[in-house]
Symmetry: C2
Subunit: 340 residues, 2 copies
């Protein structure tokens, strides 16, 4: 029998990653600091929906010199019964108690020449069989929970996986930024197998695509889900490689663009394009919908939404403009890591 996943080690890594990312972004901002909001909640089984407990540490920077809103959230959530939205591709897991740990972040820069970035790294495990009176996890907010030691003799084996990745959403396209972003991702994954980057890059392109617009959300990156193929230790190492690569992927791009002169028209375009981010997160994003449906903490889930957004009816940029070039040259699948 393989060793049980080490939830405490995952949690320690995630909290440290959150601190390191916040420190790096605050240094890049140079003006604003992250505020910290620790929260716990427990939803009793008697209320509507399955019992749900959780805790988290939300860190948010607002109105910085460089970042208009930067949210970096750690959360540790347990539930008595997995909702259907989380198990679309694994219907046999519906109804099981579960635990989810993760760091999720969305960074909305002020300057339209700096792209928005998103990253998350997370660990998920079921903690027992489905049933009318499932063993609700009581260890909320710390990680002494032992996975896979259910007392029910006929309990199915525990299921666990890692997921995550990062993707980039520019308002104005710079090819060298996209190349740097993707090459950093490719280098982080290379020790785990050369086939992973193209596979995770494709998953990212497929996932961050606005169906109702027929349009990618941005220039992609890497994304993986339901990953346990390398066993716990090596899969966890892969998660760390991806988490650790986010700051080296993003920060140089921010540094390069943050002082670019910009105009009110460019700001307007940025606010308009941010609308696509809202549309994706509220209409399609599985994590957002899972959180809202499972009774998660709304403020932490919707921290990803941009600070200021506009919608215009049937807005189409004029051919030949940089705004038009974003659509034609950047918002389409490209093999960025192999660009010359």
């Amino acid at each position: 029998m393989p060793p049980a996943p080490d939830l405490a080690a995952v949690q320690a890594y995630l909290l440290d990653l959150q601190d390191r990312i916040c420190a790096g972004l605050a240094a890049e901002d140079g003006q604003a600091a992250f505020a910290t909001d620790e929260w716990t909640r427990e939803k009793p089984a008697a209320s509507a929906g399955p019992a749900l407990g959780g805790g988290g540490r939300t860190r948010i920077l607002t109105d910085g010199a460089v970042f208009e809103k930067a949210g970096v959230a750690f959360s540790h959530v347990t539930g008595a019964a997995l909702p259907p939205s989380a198990t679309a591709h694994r219907p046999e897991l519906a109804g099981r108690p579960w635990v989810a740990l993760g760091v999720s972040l969305v960074i909305h820069p002020r300057n339209p020449r700096v792209p928005t970035s998103h990253a998350n790294v997370r660990f998920f495990a079921t903690t027992g069989p489905a049933g009318p009176t499932p063993p609700v996890a009581s260890a909320i907010g710390h990680s002494s929970l032992v996975i896979g030691h259910s007392s029910a003799a006929a309990a199915p084996p525990p299921v666990w996986w890692f997921g995550g990745g990062f993707d980039l959403t520019p308002y104005y396209g710079y090819e060298e930024d996209c190349v740097h972003w993707h090459r950093t991702a490719r280098a982080a994954l290379a020790p785990f197998g050369e086939e992973l980057y193209p596979r995770f890059k494709q998953t990212c392109d497929d996932y961050f695509f606005l169906k109702h617009r027929g349009e990618p959300r941005g220039v992609g990156g890497v994304f993986f889900d339901d990953f346990s193929a390398l066993g716990f230790e090596r899969s966890f190492a892969l998660l760390r490689a991806v988490g650790d690569a986010y700051l080296p992927a993003y920060r140089p791009i921010v540094a390069r663009r943050k002082n670019t002169a910009t105009t009110a028209a460019e700001r307007d375009w940025q606010l308009y394009r941010r609308g696509r981010y809202v549309e994706f997160n509220l209409v399609q994003d599985r994590g957002t919908l899972f959180g809202l449906q499972s009774g998660g903490r709304t403020e932490s889930i919707l921290m990803s939404l941009p600070p200021l957004v506009r919608w215009d009816y049937a807005r189409v940029p004029a051919p030949g403009t940089e705004e038009h070039r974003l659509h034609t040259d950047f918002l389409r699948p490209r093999d960025w890591a192999s660009e010359p």
Copy 2:
């Protein structure tokens, strides 16, 4: 056998209603005019998803003196197979060809003292049995389509209904406005039965409720769906009564508030509260999700989104302020029509 529904009469009413509402709102604005965008589209059966055809006349006013964005859309859409999202409470209709006609509007005023309003009136009918090669309606954009005369001998009877209503979303609460809004709705429905207003008011309260916020979207109004109880002629008269009542319900409120002095802080609150509107429409609204899932025209569907919106993390108004009073006194179910 009851007479077939008169699609041409419904369409003529809806187009005239759209004109009258636009004329009334433009007069109230006094500065900006509605632009008209006529569109048709046909999605061939060979593309992803069921065959879909449609046409519409979208009218939109932007950057007015009073209205920052006012969209009033007429649409006439036909589909070869009803998607599951439209038939949650009538699974037997899934897969049938259908036609939907409607006027839908959302008005976003500039002054935070003027509430946002939403209304729609619509007619829906299936036009044949479900099947691998359904008789796709070819009469797109005009109303010669005859409902219920399918050539298939074993075809189920046609199903049709009316739906609609209007609801109000203030940023600052005024009790007299809420009372006027609800009394206008009650008076419009009274000729069709005294029980309808309380029933439709309750449906509106139930529907326009943000589950993930535990919060009503606004102060409600009336809303009904799947309505055919009075037969075609009388049900259509009820639809007209509701459609005709919208302008007398809304315009006096706009006139009363549009010149109220306002501050930057109130504007900020308005932009923040508009975020709730976006959340509701993109996460919960059946019409929006049906439209996006069925391959509808995205620009017309998302015309309802506010022109400018902000999200702030964990924003809570201070007790004693007007912003706080919106939550405590207005964003809860109240029997407005019976207020003294």
